[in-house]
Structure formats: structure tokens, C-alpha cells
């Protein structure tokens, strides 16, 4: 009797968020795949009937270098974010209560301030007449007329900048639970500090490291605003192409096919990680 009542109240209370996510998250995601098989109409919508033509179109070899660039820029962004976030998380987790709260706040504030504004800030910093370029030129670290903007390096820099908090926060959450006594033990046993960091701390926060890496990598895969605003003409990523297909060519099925491909590329690795972590948890338990 009681279990039955609990069952129905569980359904009733779960219904609002389940229905919302079903209607506005699951169904739309499925519709992306459906749209890829529909013909385009000239108003940017979808025509009647079904077609395989779009799938033929996206097998265009011109997409290969773009996919390759998307993957390596995302991988490089992930690498640099983790490299910066690891010592950061290590330091925050060991800091005193007050300093820790300050550092966390300082990490969160840029993360919460407007995304476009942060890109704009870099755009004006890297601008040929901007302070960074001017300073570097006057220090003779850069040749006269050097251009920092509209460059693959600028894309990478700004990507690392905007994604860094996504790496720091999960790593910090893992580092907070890490037993720092293990580091002292390692050093008592003769490990050098860097050795102790690499062989004890890094494996100790492995779970946080994985979620940070997945988070940054996946978010980077979908970027299009950054390459559009600070990159050059040859720095397009897959996201740029999707946005172009929707807003310039007004070809929704083509954009959907690309987005569907990206969605598979995002979901499959996460599924693998989730299954792997579940197995790990069962073994650990």
C-alpha cells in the first residue's frame, strides 16, 4: 500500500521535469536526425517528402580538413586547460578556508561574465593597435606589423581562456577529496615534489581529470563564435559550418546532418566513459 503510494507520488513529482526535458531536449535531438533526411526548401525550412541527398552532400571531402581542425583544436584546448587547471586545483584544495573561497570566487567570476564580452576583451587586447601587440612590439618581442588577431593561435588562446573554469571546477572538486597526507608519505619515501605530484596526486584525482577533459573537449567541439570572431578565414571549425548552413545558406537539412554527426561524436565517447566508470565503481564497491 505504502510502496504503491510512493510509486505514484514519484511519478507525479518526476513528471514536470521529465516532460519538459522529453519535449524540449530529447525530441528536438531526435528531430535533428530526422531533418537530415528531409529536403530543404528555399525559405530555410524543410520541404515535403524524404531524401538521402543531404547525406551524399556531407560526404564532401572539403569537410575532412575542417573535421580534423575541429578535433585537434579541441584536443589542444583540452591539453592546455588541464595543464593549467591541475596546479590551480592543487593549490586551491590546499589553501586555507579564506583564500580558498576567494580563489573559487575569482575563478567563477570570469566564467559568469558574458561570453561575448570575454571574446571582445581578447579581441581588443590582441588588436593591432591594442595594448598587448603594442607592448610586445616595443619590447622587440614581436616584429613590426605583427598581427596576433585572426590566427589559429588566437583561436586556441581564447578557447583555453573561456573553457578554463570548466576544467578547474571539476578538478578542484576531486582535489578537495584527495588525501594530501599521501603526498607527504611519498616524499618521506624519497619522491621529489614533482614526482609526488605526477605519480600520487594526478592518479588520485583521475575521476575529476576525466570529467574535466570530457567537459572541455566536448564544449570545444561545438565552438563557432570564437573561430568566427578571433580566427582567420582558414580557421573554420565544424560549428562554424553548421552556423553558416543555417544562417547564410538557409539549408536546415544540411546543417542538421552536420549537427547529427557532431551529436554522435559527442554522445558516443561519453557513453563509453559512463559505462567504464560504472564498471570501475562496481569493482571498487
Amino acid at each position: 500500500m505504502r510502496a504503491q503510494r510512493q510509486g505514484s507520488s514519484q511519478w507525479l513529482l518526476s513528471l514536470p521535469s521529465l516532460a519538459w526535458l522529453g519535449l524540449f531536449f530529447v525530441i528536438p535531438a531526435i528531430l535533428v536526425f530526422v531533418t537530415a533526411f528531409r529536403p530543404a526548401d528555399l525559405q530555410g525550412g524543410v520541404g515535403p517528402g524524404w531524401t538521402l541527398a543531404t547525406l551524399e552532400e556531407i560526404r564532401d571531402p572539403a569537410y575532412l580538413p575542417i573535421i580534423w581542425r575541429t578535433v585537434w583544436v579541441s584536443a589542444a584546448t583540452t591539453f592546455f586547460c588541464l595543464a593549467l587547471a591541475l596546479p590551480m586545483a592543487f593549490h586551491i584544495a590546499r589553501a586555507g578556508q579564506r583564500q580558498r573561497q576567494w580563489l573559487l570566487l575569482l575563478v567563477v567570476i570570469p566564467f559568469l561574465s558574458n561570453f561575448l564580452i570575454r571574446i571582445f576583451a581578447w579581441k581588443s587586447l590582441l588588436h593591432p593597435e591594442g595594448p598587448l601587440t603594442q607592448t610586445l612590439i616595443s619590447l622587440h618581442l614581436l616584429p613590426e606589423n605583427a598581427v596576433l588577431l585572426h590566427h589559429a593561435g588566437a583561436v586556441l588562446l581564447v578557447m583555453v581562456y573561456t573553457q578554463l573554469p570548466f576544467a578547474i571546477l571539476p578538478l578542484y572538486a576531486a582535489a578537495e577529496r584527495f588525501d594530501f597526507g599521501l603526498l607527504d608519505a611519498a616524499r618521506d619515501l624519497g619522491a621529489r615534489p614533482l614526482q609526488a605530484f605526477a605519480k600520487v596526486f594526478v592518479p588520485g584525482v583521475q575521476r575529476g581529470l576525466i570529467s574535466a577533459a570530457v567537459m572541455v573537449f566536448v564544449c570545444s567541439l561545438g565552438q563557432y563564435v570564437i573561430p568566427q570572431m578571433v580566427g582567420g578565414v582558414s580557421d573554420d571549425m565544424l560549428g562554424t559550418k553548421i552556423a553558416q548552413r543555417v544562417f547564410s545558406d538557409r539549408n536546415l537539412p544540411h546543417a542538421s546532418a552536420l549537427a547529427g554527426g557532431m551529436m554522435l561524436a559527442v554522445l558516443l565517447p561519453m557513453l563509453v566513459v559512463a559505462v567504464w566508470q560504472r564498471i570501475g565503481r562496481k569493482e571498487g564497491a
Partner: protein
């Protein structure tokens, strides 16, 4: 044992890296120079220009209306979701958990693209309503996560105690659970509000004519270089309000 100074140095280096561009923006908003390469004297001029830019204020008003209503809806849905996720262990909640987590890791462009597909295929005109739906959808997961974190610290025996003392179940929830949960719910709502105000990519996909939110406005200002320093002034005000919101939020979450 002596601690290495290296992590501390690196950590403050990262903080410097995070804040340097923002500081440059703030300084340049008072700089008479158009490009901000050199300091050409203090001015309030860009703020005066901003004050006179009516379209910016119209966009801000629109953005605030969307953010408040989306945050409120996400607070209700997210609190309920967090409560059932915490309270029940079943296959239904496993599915629920996955559905709540996925939007957090879904790239914005895919979320925008899929909602656009939904609205185009179902013939819904994009505009205020579609932006609101999109914002509630991505805010929902964040609110749930924040409230869930709060619930994990909640001592559920308090509810039993209230009922032992004669409160009905509804009274116990209203007078014990909700007040103790409120800081978490508010912090979640504040996060939702900030994310909604900030969102550019998803909004861009589902906005229609006449619904230029503030980020969309900033993007179009960035394309016309005439107004660049005005963006500095606007950014400074937005960064300042982010500071206030972050401070309020961290106070709310600390009040355990």
C-alpha cells in the same frame, strides 16, 4: 615539510590570465582613445554614449524579462527534479538523472540547432516564447545540480521530527524543508538568471525578428566598429553586476 611555491605561483598566474582581459576592458571604458592602445586621458564619454543608446536599454529590458521568467520556471522544475532524484532510487530516476545531466555537457550549438529543428518542424514562429523555452531548458539542469548539492546536506530526520510533533506532511515540507532549502533554490535561480542573461549561441538560433537580447545586441555592435568603446562601457557595467551576483550567491551557499 617545506611546501613548493610553484603551485601557488602558477595559481595566481592563472588568476592573472583570467582577469587581465577584463581589467583592460574596464580601463579602456574610461580611455578617451578609440582603440585603447594608449592612454589618452580620462573620459566619461563612452558611458554618456551608452546612456543615449536606447536600443541597448530596450535589449537589456527584454533580456531581464526573459531571464527572470526563465529562472523562475527553472527554479520550480529544478527543485522538484532535485527532490525526486534525491528521494527515490529507481530505474525512472536513473533515466531522469541522465536527462538532467546531458544538457550540461551538450555543446550549445547542438542544443540551439535541435530546438530550431523542433520549432521549424512544428511550425512555431521563433520569438520571445521560443527563447524562453530554450532558456528554461538549459537552466533546468543547473538549478537541479545546485539544489541537489544542498539536499545532500539536508537532514531528513527533521521532517520525521516535525511530523512526530504533530505537523502534517504538507506542513512539514512547507515549514521545515522549504525554508532550509531556500538558499540553495535561490542560488540555483541566480545561476539560471546569470546563464540566461549571458547566453548568446542558443538564443541566436531560436530568436526571431524583434527579439534582440543583450548578447545579440553586443554581437551586432561588435560587427560595426564605430561603437566599439561603448561596448567597453557596457561590459564594465555587466562585469560589475556579475561581481555583485557572484558575491550574493556565494553568501547564500555559505549560509548552511
Amino acid at each position: 615539510m617545506r611546501r613548493s611555491r610553484l603551485p601557488a605561483l602558477l595559481a595566481w598566474g592563472v588568476v592573472l590570465f583570467l582577469f587581465a582581459p577584463l581589467v583592460v576592458l574596464v580601463v579602456n571604458s574610461f580611455n578617451a582613445s578609440r582603440f585603447g592602445g594608449t592612454w589618452e586621458g580620462f573620459t566619461w564619454g563612452w558611458y554618456e554614449k551608452l546612456w543615449a543608446a536606447d536600443e541597448v536599454w530596450a535589449s537589456l529590458w527584454l533580456t531581464l524579462r526573459i531571464a527572470v521568467s526563465a529562472a523562475l520556471a527553472a527554479m520550480v522544475l529544478g527543485t522538484l527534479a532535485a527532490y525526486v532524484l534525491h528521494r527515490f532510487r529507481s530505474w525512472l530516476q536513473n533515466v531522469h538523472q541522465v536527462l538532467i545531466t546531458l544538457p550540461l555537457v551538450m555543446p550549445d550549438i547542438l542544443m540551439g540547432m535541435s530546438l530550431l529543428a523542433l520549432f521549424v518542424l512544428s511550425g512555431v514562429e521563433t520569438g520571445l516564447l521560443t527563447i524562453w523555452i530554450a532558456h528554461v531548458t538549459f537552466c533546468l539542469s543547473f538549478v537541479t545540480m545546485v539544489v541537489l548539492g544542498r539536499l545532500q546536506d539536508f537532514d531528513f530526520t527533521l521532517l520525521d521530527a516535525a511530523q512526530d510533533l504533530g505537523a502534517t506532511r504538507a506542513q512539514a515540507v512547507r515549514k521545515v524543508l522549504l525554508p532550509l532549502l531556500l538558499p540553495g533554490v535561490l542560488a540555483g535561480g541566480l545561476l539560471a538568471f546569470t546563464l540566461s542573461v549571458d547566453d548568446y549561441v542558443i538564443t541566436f538560433f531560436v530568436s526571431g525578428p524583434g527579439t534582440t537580447t543583450l548578447p545579440l545586441r553586443v554581437a551586432s555592435m561588435m560587427r560595426t566598429s564605430r561603437t566599439l568603446p561603448v561596448i567597453n562601457a557596457l561590459s564594465t557595467l555587466l562585469i560589475a553586476s556579475t561581481f555583485v551576483i557572484a558575491a550574493v550567491s556565494s553568501r547564500l551557499q555559505r549560509r548552511a
